[in-house]
Symmetry: C2
Subunit: 348 residues, 2 copies
């Protein structure tokens, strides 16, 4: 159908509501970051946490991909673990090792010692970044805020860093179930307050990244996580901005993520979009789902697979194009730029 050309902000927000759009909006998880030379230039003199602590720098990093790529949304540059710091966890990023928490949560007493956060004080730098970016964007594209989901934050808090098996996390969940629920309650309170503060500062939509929750069975997700995720989305519904909900490898959990909340459900590349609509209903709004490894593929293969993603969404409203997981370090910038152009051309 012919649709008048829309501003990028209108395009994104209409897609979130399932309304018709001129072209499919597109942005990329981790669109700001290591693959961009202008980001690497900044990282050569500042650490990740130093960037997050300097609003003018974090704002610049947030804006870099908007300028460079022509994406239809900006996403705040920050780290999902930042709220753990004012809760009392000592976070450090070690070169080549990823995040390390020096005092991980290992007992009910550790949970009890966590502090509630007042994001307007302890995360004021992030909120200032939101204000700076929102001002600089001047309505060109919408600004997305974000936070980690409760399972994912708990996993870092308990493991003390990244994990493949999440064994310490699951042992705590199964073995210290009351303390687990208290932990997830505290985390979801913190996430809710943090996201509300981002929205007050100017974020026009927010995404909850429960990135690692796909490590759980549907029954365990339902019992151990869903009530806490639902509280976050209920709190956000009261505020009234659009919400997005995403985790990697959550093919078996999609209906449950939808029940927990989120106007838009993000899919990784393992579940085709058309299957997503079949399972979540024709009025669902879906985000995804190109395998980010395809950004390293020859252009013909990349284009074929971008077409395939768009073909699965054809004739539907409520699609936001994205990768199915964050952009990988080393990704060629011109491939990312080509995807933006291709999505806009092919969906026109």
């Amino acid at each position: 159908m012919a649709v008048m050309e829309q501003t990028q902000t209108a395009r994104f927000l209409r897609a979130v509501r399932g309304e018709s759009v001129d072209v499919t909006p597109v942005w990329f998880m981790r669109q700001a970051g290591r693959y961009l030379p202008e980001y690497r230039a900044i990282r050569s003199r500042l650490s990740l946490l130093e960037i997050c602590a300097r609003p003018e720098v974090a704002a610049e990093v947030t804006l870099q991909p908007v300028t460079r790529l022509g994406v239809d949304a900006a996403i705040l540059f920050a780290d999902i673990l930042l709220p753990l710091v004012p809760m009392g966890l000592r976070l450090e990023f070690q070169a080549g090792e990823g995040p390390v928490i020096h005092n991980p949560v290992r007992s009910p007493a550790d949970v009890a010692a966590l502090r509630p956060i007042e994001p307007r004080e302890s995360l004021a730098g992030v909120l200032e970044t939101v204000r700076l970016v929102r001002g600089a964007l001047a309505g060109r594209v919408p600004l997305l805020g974000f936070a980690g989901g409760p399972f994912t934050l708990a996993s870092y808090a308990i493991e003390g860093g990244s994990s493949r098996q999440f064994l310490a996390t699951k042992r705590f969940m199964y073995g210290e179930t009351r303390a687990w629920h208290r932990l997830l309650r505290r985390l979801s309170d913190a996430v809710s307050e943090y996201l509300v503060a981002q929205i007050e500062a100017g974020a026009e939509a927010v995404q909850v990244f429960d990135s690692w929750v796909g490590a759980l069975s549907p029954a365990d997700y339902t019992q151990y996580v869903l009530p806490h995720s639902r509280r976050i989305f209920e709190r956000l519904r009261a505020v009234g901005v659009p919400t997005l909900h995403f985790g990697v490898g959550t093919g078996a959990l999609l209906e449950l993520l939808q029940q927990a909340g989120g106007d838009v459900i993000g899919l990784d590349w393992r579940v085709p979009l058309d299957e997503g609509w079949r399972r979540l209903g024709p009025h669902a709004r879906l985000q995804g789902n190109l395998d980010p490894a395809l950004l390293f593929a020859p252009r013909a293969e990349l284009e074929r697979q971008v077409r395939s993603v768009l073909a699965q969404a054809e004739g539907r409203t409520g699609h936001i194009f994205n990768v199915g997981h964050g952009i990988l370090p080393g990704t060629p910038v011109d491939a990312v730029r080509a995807v933006v152009d291709l999505v806009h051309q092919l969906s026109a």
Copy 2:
């Protein structure tokens, strides 16, 4: 229905054929290994590859869990990467690092340099282990052989070790597609010959572990892997022993794994068994699917979840109880033993 008490071999083989059993057969992926003190005692003086190279030791390790746990099947102790060595890859296990291949496959020329294998010569030690174990078991429980699936073997060959993103693998797959298919053809030829040789030596069923193939979208699996997996299962069908097919995080690929082949499809804990039967048909035979992290849980939670797995299979034939991924190091042996007893009691 009342069924006469069966030998464990009959129980396992009847379940594979979807026939009624006296109790649900149970075994565990990685049931031999680091969590067993008698295995650790051997590992304190021999490396993993040294154990694999000494048939009498590998046979002892294979038999340890049969004696200790009362499982309904033995699985050959070996490493999925062994066939890569006679193909020309220099494999080493480094302490704490996992497998390292010193000359990974990075170009079409590297693929061309791979040698076909003659498992009766180059993997004679493994086949001797099969013969020793089969003799020692004397029909008590069936002996399963196994090999890695083509994507999983290719991923180690290309990455040079373990991987989280499989980026080098996917770049090769997308970018050197002809060489990729030659590589997978060579790997599936090697796997087929190796499994046929295991069967000739006495393996009574074989499992293909395409452990990491869940990293692919259904479309990519169909295009880049399925034809090669299918060749393996077609070759095995001609030999006539039961086959099992498993990968982690393959919830989106189950129908495709079934199409590729395997009398039994293994599920990890992310897809409930009843959903497996709904998707694969009422006559499908399924293996799984307890989260191995539950073996660390308090006994009440472990028991509740074992009951839940069995309840999903209730009233069906064709279920083999297993974990949804290998047993983890540090797993309490008494929990594993308790699951065997519980499965037998509850399903009687």
